[in-house]
């Protein structure tokens, strides 16, 4: 059992839901990323998703894309990111996974990437450009190492295919709320609730919902059907807008924002 399996089991027993923030590694630098992750866990997050900057992220909207560009402009390397993660001791904080392009994993070598990630204390990977047909080789490596390979299901995924993806997934299913790229939305499509409810009947895996979630009313809408909620661009945007301001102040603001969403999540228990 990976740390992710244990986490969701504990949450289920307690009747609670996971709050799962996303942060870009190295934006604006790795020490700050480490401080943000500590703050996110300290405020009650269950799992942290760490974005590995990539030069050509086609599933990402302008906010995350720009954060990747900023990090890469400062030449952040995967090895530096893993070193930062190791320094955080995820076993003390909570499970962490990377959002990482298959271009990066392939270049490092599948075995190598997974083993280095495990050595750093990571529990899994979300690979947004690796559909189920192409996931076989990486899935085999992950299975051997008890490293979760979290796969995505979207509103455009046909139902038969969704079942197949669920069978191949470990850790949790990442349900993408919208047909589109990452980024905050004012409103989310109401059919998510029914789609996730259907998916729930097909699998015992935890289901986390991401893309577009940024407001307490989103949390209230989705918490009843989800095991976890993922919030990315709203946090990355706050970091981008805070440039030049005292870091303590920015950390507190991010923490307060997370608390606001967590309160909405706890209210749905």
């Amino acid at each position: 059992m990976s740390a992710i399996d244990t986490l969701f089991q504990q949450l289920r027993t307690a009747g609670r839901k996971a709050f799962m923030p996303f942060v870009t590694a190295g934006d604006p630098d790795l020490p700050f990323t480490a401080a943000v992750i500590r703050e996110l866990f300290a405020r009650g997050s269950s799992l942290c998703e760490l974005g590995i900057p990539y030069s050509d992220p086609i599933a990402d909207g302008p906010v995350i894309q720009a954060s990747y560009t900023r990090a890469l402009d400062r030449h952040v390397k995967v090895s530096d990111i893993l070193e930062m993660v190791a320094g955080l001791r995820p076993s003390d904080l909570g499970p962490m996974v990377t959002m990482v392009s298959y271009a990066i994993i392939y270049r490092h070598g599948l075995e190598q990437y997974v083993h280095h990630a495990i050595d750093a204390g990571l529990s899994g990977a979300i690979v947004p450009d690796l559909p189920v047909e192409e996931a076989g080789p990486l899935a085999a490596v992950c299975r051997r190492s008890d490293f979760s390979l979290i796969q995505l299901i979207t509103p455009t995924t046909p139902r038969e295919r969704a079942r197949r993806i669920a069978e191949q997934t470990t850790g949790f299913i990442y349900y993408v709320s919208v047909t589109g790229i990452t980024g905050e939305r004012t409103e989310l499509p109401p059919e998510i609730v029914d789609n996730v409810a259907w998916l729930r009947e097909q699998t015992d895996l935890p289901i986390s919902i991401g893309f577009g979630i940024s407001r307490p009313d989103h949390v209230r809408m989705l918490a009843p059907v989800a095991d976890g909620l993922i919030v990315g661009s709203a946090i990355v945007r706050r970091i981008a807008e805070a440039r030049g301001r005292p870091r303590e102040e920015v950390l507190r603001e991010i923490g307060d924002y997370v608390c606001e969403l967590l309160a909405a999540l706890e209210a749905e228990r």
Binding site: Y54, A59, V132, E133, R161, I181
Partner: protein, 401 residues
Amino acid sequence: MPATSRVPDSAGRFGPFGGRYVPETLTRALEELTAQYEKAVADTSFQAELEHLYRNYVGRPSPLYYAERLSRRCGGARIYLKREDLNHTGAHKINNTLGQALLTVRMGKRRVIAETGAGQHGVATATACARFGLDCVVYMGEEDIRRQKPNVFSMRLLGAEVRPVTSGSRTLRDAVNDAFRDWMSSVETTHYCLGSVMGPHPFPRIVRDFQSVIGRETRRQCLEQVGRLPDVVVACVGGGSNAAGMFYPFVDDAEVALFGVEAGGRSAQPGQHAATISYGRPGILHGMYTYVLQDDDGQTSPVHSISAGLDYPGVGPEHSYWRETGRVTYTQATDAEALDAFDVVARAEGILPALESSHAVAKAMKLAAERKRDDVLVICLSGRGDKDAHEVARLRGQEFG
């Protein structure tokens, strides 16, 4: 294993290359496109309509022209030019966009998006969309908009919206990224008309098939004019669509030597060229497993070429397959060699070749010189150079107009 023309397989693999490395959101549209394409291929009315458009709208077949003065100048093989520059819109790109526009109509979609580098694919897409009454949005890097102003005007005149791409290198690669991002949100109503033999399955196959009209005609014309197949065929390779269309019908003819010419840029230093097969290695980019220019972390490398159409850090997966099997020899021409070749063709033949095609000419002139006088060498003159006149003048510090 020798190369075969019976690729890709049902997973979109050319040997180990190709595949479909895209976000889950796009997979249903790619499945639908694959299914529609299979149906279209089997449908004689689709083929007849495309054939009709090629003949009466594009002006096909394009001539295979014996370039006598150019041949004499090189002092070796007889050089023939496959005149894709004479097509409607001035390049080979229209062969593909008309085919994809027909597929768009069959799928019941009303909106088309495209990426463009030199602007040739953008103009060809805008043209096909105007012809079929489809809405058209073209993503183009800011840097390329500057280099290729006449094509930007043409696209707008044809009713397309040109969206400047300001991220990254502001060239073709970033235009591809933005087109994919648009498609992530619009996939239910929009077709992405990809402009080269690249990207996720089924694009490399579809674009190759539509462009193969170039090689099929060349084969027939060469048999008619010379009485046999050519000895050497040369084409430039960026993403690689004119080359794939030219080479594919010759793949099983072992006696025909095939040469792909990449953009050698200023030098072999990283960032100074766009010679992906020459200097790259297999990796993942834009939905495909193929040769790419990447650093050790998997980040895409910057590229440079004098020609906006070759300025791309990847290459179609079938080219990677042809390289691995040894069926095609990949080589390169520098910016300076391409500019010289541009001049030579202009003055010897009265033809302004596109800077992209000038790379093929530069290498072909050398190959021809090494050959016997009765050898036959065909160059795919993939587009006309009018669009480059401004840029050539700028590079030489000359005033234009």
